[in-house]
Symmetry: C2
Subunit: 581 residues, 2 copies
């Protein structure tokens, strides 16, 4: 092959009016040429006939010798095609057009991923068989990043989603801000590299280089280390809108770094044949909004102004937000904030979750504030909500309607660990207390219509377990049951309906894999069903190597005996007229 | 900013022992410097003190003037850090280390997607809540491509999946071969570009350039145009193995083009700081295996040898196949071949599907042969199967147990079109004929245990519709019902149980979107539930604008009256002894 010089002619060169250097790499493919190495011919200055002459000279072709020179796709180079030859093109010199290749040739190609890799990565990933519900999961990716960034904070970890829907200020824009460690310009550069995960990243110049250090195990894997692929942020941003401005100030540096990635930029670069994956980081002092266009981006000025006095922060400013997202976010405020409160339940409420009874006594145990602010045009007033205030997410409902908890641990191969718990929701007087999902719609309610329902109340046919990964909900994966807590075929010591009064949670650590969009586990259930998985009961913090099924059954029996309060209508005694009321 | 010269120092230059050119781009950030443009300083030859001298000169710093020069991340350039400066690095010149940035600076960065974009793209996408079952869907991506490539074939369209599991021949390897149009070297180059979809692709030099032409509508959208994202092939290949060799001969050219993409190559290029997305296409004559290592890749020779005499073809040769895939493919042969037969049912059997009664009369109506060949070490004999022979995929079972079909069409906004059909599986004598999925496992069978089952037989609670996109199954999306074919709350003219005797198929055209892994539709059901969707009945090829619900109910009534044959055990008459047997 020819020297591996850069092939594509640089847009920059052309812009400056310089004739770019053009060479071609020609293989002599005539019979008898004996697999000779190719020759590089400079054609920067030559017209078509000059090119032919250079060819004749290079390969010592006599004037009356006929030949054909063609692309590797057998396109004969005539005067017209000649003009379109790009720098570095590989050509074949044949005796005649239909001659076979005597020896193999090698042709250098480039195959840079198309920019749709970034711009479209979210589009077909947050696939929404459940319709619009995908948007909270895109937000979740940005909250994940903010949780990681604030993990080492000593004070409050503050995360704010600000929906700037006041068109008079420019926008609409979605801004996610955190007071975490921020990013150096090198880290901001790394942010932009698709699929550069924390496991393979260098974080600065060599002497600062640090491999990834796995955090120490913590209860329920609430380690705030919720990133894996180097994809999430970009996927989320381009699902929500068309452009992102990352603004970040790393702790310990007086400078703010800013980087824009946008669909429009990519399109322009492609059109102008500029390098697609090149861009500029702007380094500036905090509060300096001199680069912000006054007219369009009023809201941005206010964000930049807020920078002053912050030790470190990151702001993800998404613009070009799809109009359908804007109206979804406005009109389904309580739906999607509840979904986020559900996703981060144990981060915002601490390991024990949202125990409403306890809360009155002690203050909240978590220092993570996730705040949602919705700004609309005056006279509409801003709506502000801390996710901790959400009182109707499923975990809150489960926790506060349960009377007892059975804890366990499952360990498998290679440090894989699941902490689990099962909660009991008793039958009280005249009804099941198993919580109903207030937002659940459709078939789950009336699907049993054609059966005479005996025991389908309470949980019904819903799966027992919701599943969390590194402490955050993976929304589309549930585990219906384990053998040891499944309802037996025949009633034993425990009434069968008690098996319908349990809900559960699984907390998996990062040895379990999730899909890129973090909507599903890869094979949590499969791994847990593996014979090598060991289940232990956890009682008062002690792990007990016991027969888990027996323990569970005993616990369930006790729950039934202690908590279920059935009032039965025994028969008709007579009517009494109360005269005292 | 400094001139946008290429930044990264080229591995090639270094390999040739040439000191690469090194420049830095220095901003004067001292107070009063007034946002002067940066200066480029050549440091190729200079040591640290030479660099300092050049700095002093460039910025007219007097000898006793103190200054600090640092990276944009405030790393002070000392002798050690100086050595690590890469070409093109942006530096800041300060008066003192803690001085603020007076004016903003711009720093050129590159953010090429990491090669994991390609190598890992399949890994977390064919997420397998159903365990190993994902593998057939990776194969499906390669069959999709082969179907597209053979769409214009005049004779047989032959697609072969060859599993080369005879270790004595090298491997294991998975090979997918088709006799389609093949790829020119330009097209092979395009194949390698991640996310370069058919919609945005140029197919050759300018004068051959052709935008994408949407195929004309055909019944059931069996248009063989099953590609969308520019992702599928790569995703599939790197899910199955670690390396792919694409071998292709385009029609009309005497040359074969060959390109290898492998995890190992990427790793090597990264290590040597070579350009990641550069490679070589090998152009050669058919049957020329001179480049194949004799020892390791015996099986490859046989594939290359087969090339001779073929007008055009493509072979996708996957090596580094994961051992667990190998054993899954060996041990679950009938499971996964059945899944593929299901996926391509209407391609391999034609629009009417696998009607077993008719087949004896006419020969098959499709010219698509999808053949699976499993080769193991002698004395094991090869297993060969044409997917058309599969007789127990669900569509075959549905078709052959149905007595009548109700056809309809749904049209929505922007040319979106769904052809649909509902089949009736009558009750015959003593049992439902609704087919049972022979591979279905688990809860669907016994989940009704706790109800007294009245009408849950036949379909039970399964969704009515399987969904196809451009004629091929999208396996994880089903549609349970439409309003007009849902079981009413109260029995009317038709016995309620008849609503459980229907199965259905939806054929969506490409105006509906699917997720990148082609496992789910984005919002098929949502779109169909839209009020603007118009349902028409199709009768003998005629579209009727009628009340679909009434038509359907009438059809169902007729099915019940004509086909359901209930034999009832009326009462005891007496015992008879038969003397004639
Ligand atoms: N708010 C933030 N503060 C500080 N650093 C951030 C922030 N957001 C992103 N980053 C940095 O950018 C990197 C890329 O983020 P991105 O979400 O795209 O991928 P990821 O988090 O590494 O992996 P995943 O695909 O699992 O999300 C992060 O690993 C982190 O180093
Ligand atoms: N067997 C084949 N024969 C001819 N061309 C092929 C073949 N396989 C792939 N190609 C070409 O390579 C391109 C890229 O294939 P790939 O499967 O990666 O993406 P795609 O089919 O374009 O989109 P999708 O992501 O929907 O699969 C195809 O569009 C097609 O032009
Ligand atoms: Mg992330
Ligand atoms: Mg494809």
């Amino acid at each position: 092959m020819c020297d591996d010089t850069k092939m594509s002619d640089s847009g920059a060169e052309r812009n400056r009016g310089i004739t770019p250097r053009r060479t071609v790499c020609v293989y002599d493919c005539r019979p008898g040429s004996n697999a000779a190495p190719p020759r590089t011919i400079d054609i920067s200055e030559a017209d078509y006939s000059g090119f032919l002459q250079a060819l004749r000279q290079e390969f010592s072709l006599s004037t009356n010798e006929t030949f054909v020179v063609s692309t590797t796709d057998r396109g004969e180079i005539d005067a017209e095609l000649y003009k379109e030859l790009v720098d570095g093109k590989t050509l074949h010199l044949f005796e005649s057009a239909d001659q076979k290749l005597t020896a193999a040739t090698e042709e250098r190609i480039e195959f840079l991923p198309h920019y749709h890799t970034l711009v479209q990565c979210g589009m077909y990933e947050y696939y929404a068989s459940e319709g619009q519900k995908a948007l909270p999961y895109a937000f979740a990716e940005l909250i994940d990043n903010a949780l990681s960034a604030t993990a080492a904070n000593t004070g409050i970890r503050s995360i704010e989603i600000r929906l700037m829907f006041d068109e008079s200020q420019g926008g609409p824009a979605v801004v996610v801000m955190d007071n975490g460690c921020g990013m150096t310009s090198k880290q901001l550069n790394n942010w932009a590299v698709y699929r550069l995960s924390k496991f393979i990243r260098e974080n600065g110049m060599k002497r600062e280089e640090s491999g990834y250090v796995r955090p120490d195990p913590v209860p329920r894997s609430l380690n705030s280390d919720i990133s894996y692929f180097g994809v999430g942020g970009k996927q989320a941003v381009f699902y929500i809108g068309q452009s992102v401005r990352m603004i970040s100030k790393p702790a310990g540096s007086p400078d703010v770094h800013e980087f824009i990635m946008s669909k429009e930029d990519f399109e322009r670069k492609e059109m102008n044949k500029e390098e697609i994956y090149s861009g500029f980081i702007r380094n500036r002092k905090p509060g300096d909004y001199s680069h912000v266009k006054e007219s369009e981006e009023q809201f941005l000025r206010s964000i930049v102004t807020e920078e002053e006095g912050k030790e470190s922060f990151t702001a993800v400013v998404i613009t070009g937000v799809q109009q359908e997202h804007v109206s979804f976010l406005k009109h389904n405020y309580s739906l999607w904030t509840r979904e986020l409160a559900h996703t981060y339940h144990y981060y915002i409420h601490g390991v024990d979750g949202n125990e409403q009874k306890k809360k009155r006594i002690s203050d909240h145990v978590s220092n993570i504030d996730i705040q949602i602010v919705l700004l609309e045009r005056a006279p509409r007033v801003p709506r502000v909500m801390n996710l901790r205030e959400v009182e109707n997410d499923m975990q809150t409902l489960y926790i506060n309607s349960s009377f007892s908890t059975f804890e366990f641990k499952a360990t498998g191969a290679g440090e894989s660990l699941v902490e689990g718990l099962i909660r009991y929701h008793p039958f009280l007087y005249d009804r099941e207390t198993y919580p109903v999902d207030p937002y659940a719609l459709g078939p789950s309610e009336d699907e049993d219509e054609d059966c005479v329902i005996l025991n389908s109340e309470a949980r019904g046919k819903r799966p027992i377990f919701e599943c969390f990964w590194n402490g955050r909900l993976i929304p589309y994966t549930t585990v219906s049951e384990f053998e040891w807590c499944a309802r037996p075929k025949k009633a034993g010591a425990v009434p069968l309906e008690c098996y319908n009064r349990i809900s559960g949670v699984l907390f998996a650590n990062d040895r379990f894999q999730v899909s890129t969009n973090k909507l599903t586990f890869m094979d949590l259930e499969l791994q847990l069903r593996d014979n090598n998985t060991i289940f232990k009961r956890v009682l008062n913090g002690q792990e007990l190597r016991v027969n888990i099924q027996r323990e569970f059954t005993n616990w369930l029996k006790e729950c039934n005996e202690r908590f279920d309060k059935q009032v039965m209508f025994q028969g008709f005694l007579g009517s009494t007229t109360r005269t005292d009321v």
